[in-house]
């Protein structure tokens, strides 16, 4: 290119303005996507209702655990199915490449999307906790509610990390969607039995330390701060480790383009 200045200097956009523009666009997309909204609220509420009315629901660990399981499922659905699908689709369409040629630092593109996902998870959690008060008669004191929402943020890191790893390792949209659904079994469904010996103690131990089990334990611990135990600390530590490993893999191998 020419060494001579070819026009008056152009000002650099502010980071706050870039983030505002991205967040506004991502929020609009999120709110306009009926499937994403349905995926956000309906399944965890259905699971909560199902567990509370099922004859053997109590064997999974009781009302608090049922709420934690519903929250775990909700968080995992948003992250593993919703987030990965939108990232894989936009990458295939070239949306990211278009954003990357603007002065927006690349990290802002992902931070905006992740922030929206966490916001969705918090909104889902508030709705599930409100429903839990009605369905399961589970009401918490304000500290427990705050701690639970904090635990939701930690839990979101686990499953968003899983989602990031999926879109980092797999390029094709269809394969991302298929593997996302398949990964539900070991990553999330296993966690349903983290507090149950229905299938024996060995299975319970495996389930407890699966990503879903660690998250469910952390959430149920946060809902009962007075009963916070060494197991809850281990669940927190496991969640942090899962987040770091999955996110590390996802960031290391993520490609902005499929071409």
């Amino acid at each position: 290119m020419s060494n001579q200045p070819i026009a008056p200097p152009v000002h650099l956009p502010r980071l706050s303005g870039i983030l505002r523009a991205l967040l506004q666009a991502d929020l609009t997309v999120q709110l306009r996507n009926g499937r994403a909204l349905l995926l956000t609220f309906f399944p965890p509420l259905a699971v909560l209702y199902g567990l509370s009315t099922a004859k053997r629901g109590a064997q999974l660990g009781g009302p608090i655990v049922n709420v934690a399981l519903a929250l775990t499922l909700g968080i995992a659905l948003i992250a593993i199915l919703g987030y990965t699908a939108s990232v894989a689709r936009d990458r295939e369409l070239g949306v990211f490449q278009r954003l990357r040629v603007t002065p927006a630092p690349t990290w802002t593109i992902m931070v905006s999307r992740l922030a929206l996902q966490i916001l969705s998870m918090l909104a889902m959690s508030v709705v599930v906790l409100a429903a839990a008060a009605v369905v399961e008669k589970v009401t918490l004191d304000p500290t427990a509610y705050l701690l639970t929402l904090l635990a939701v943020i930690f839990s979101s890191a686990v499953f968003l990390g899983v989602g990031q790893a999926l879109v980092g390792l797999i390029r094709s949209v269809d394969t991302v969607n298929a593997v996302g659904r398949l990964s539900f079994l070991p990553l999330v469904a296993l966690g349903l039995f983290a507090h149950s010996t229905i299938f024996g103690t060995t299975f319970e131990t495996i389930a407890r330390w699966s990503p879903g089990g660690a998250v469910a334990s952390l959430l149920s611990g946060a809902m009962q701060p007075t009963a916070w135990s060494a197991d809850t600390w281990w669940a927190l530590l496991a969640s942090v480790l899962y987040s770091v490993v999955f996110a590390g893999v996802g960031i290391r191998w993520f490609q902005w383009s499929t071409r």
Binding site: M1, S2, A7, V10, D90, R98, P103
Partner: protein, 232 residues
């Protein structure tokens, strides 16, 4: 490859498929990182300061896509925000009306025709009045009317002092709008001059004479220098 684009110049990059046109543009845009060499936008080193460089260039990618759930108005607002040019709704509508898309403001990008999509892309590429505009095959797939309209818009950008680097497969386009043209192949610069200068320079080249049918054209020069074999 060494290229210099002057202020107010439309510079065309010609080459067969796989020649490296899009890769060259991608390196300037910061989408691919070059192993060596330098890219300067005015006094900005694009490799050392990519954000500042990107603020000084407007880009139209070969296959542009925007968020499918956003309307055209929302897309323009997003990109205006990313370039630090906050625009009110009325200002956005005015810009869209200027490119004859006033009535399409509430439509999604995918609902527009090819020509309309290209106009949106060009509007977004120039929304921050960048000194350098990069256009990757801007008229590919357009009908003659839409192509002429886009040429007019590109020429208007040149008239207000913008420098434009475009890639094209169309010799007609290169001759009609480009001040200078570079022919590249396999990542190497083969020749660069004005369209008329290229014909004059290469008209006696045996490779060009062999493919010419009568008077030598820019296309004869292009095929003569890059070969007749089909490229994927």
């Amino acid at each position: 490859m060494s290229l210099e684009i002057n202020e107010g110049e439309i510079f065309g990059l010609l080459g067969p498929n796989g020649a490296g046109k899009t890769t060259t543009l991608s390196a300037v845009e910061g989408l691919v990182r070059s192993d060596s060499g330098s890219i300067r936008i005015g006094d900005i080193d694009a490799r050392a300061n990519p954000i500042a460089a990107k603020a000084r260039m407007g880009v139209q990618l070969q296959s542009t896509s925007f968020q499918s759930d956003l309307t055209i108005r929302e897309i323009v607002r997003l990109y205006a925000g990313l370039y630090g040019v906050p625009l009110a709704r009325a200002a956005i509508d005015e810009l869209l009306a200027d490119v004859h898309l006033g009535e399409e403001a509430s439509k999604r990008f995918g609902q527009l025709s090819g020509g309309q999509q290209k106009r949106v892309s060009l509007l977004i590429a120039t929304i921050h009045s960048p000194p350098l505009v990069l256009l990757d095959e801007p008229t590919a797939g357009l009908d003659p009317q839409a192509r002429r309209q886009l040429w007019d818009r590109i020429e208007r950008l040149r008239d207000i002092g913008r420098s434009i680097l475009l890639t094209t497969h169309s010799m007609e386009e290169a001759q009609a709008v480009c001040h200078r043209v570079a022919i590249i192949d396999r990542g190497k610069l083969l020749t660069v001059d004005t369209p008329a200068g290229l014909i004059e320079k290469h008209k006696d080249d045996p490779r060009v004479r062999r493919v010419a049918h009568g008077q030598v054209t820019l296309e004869d020069v292009f095929i003569g220098l890059t070969g007749s074999e089909l490229r994927d």
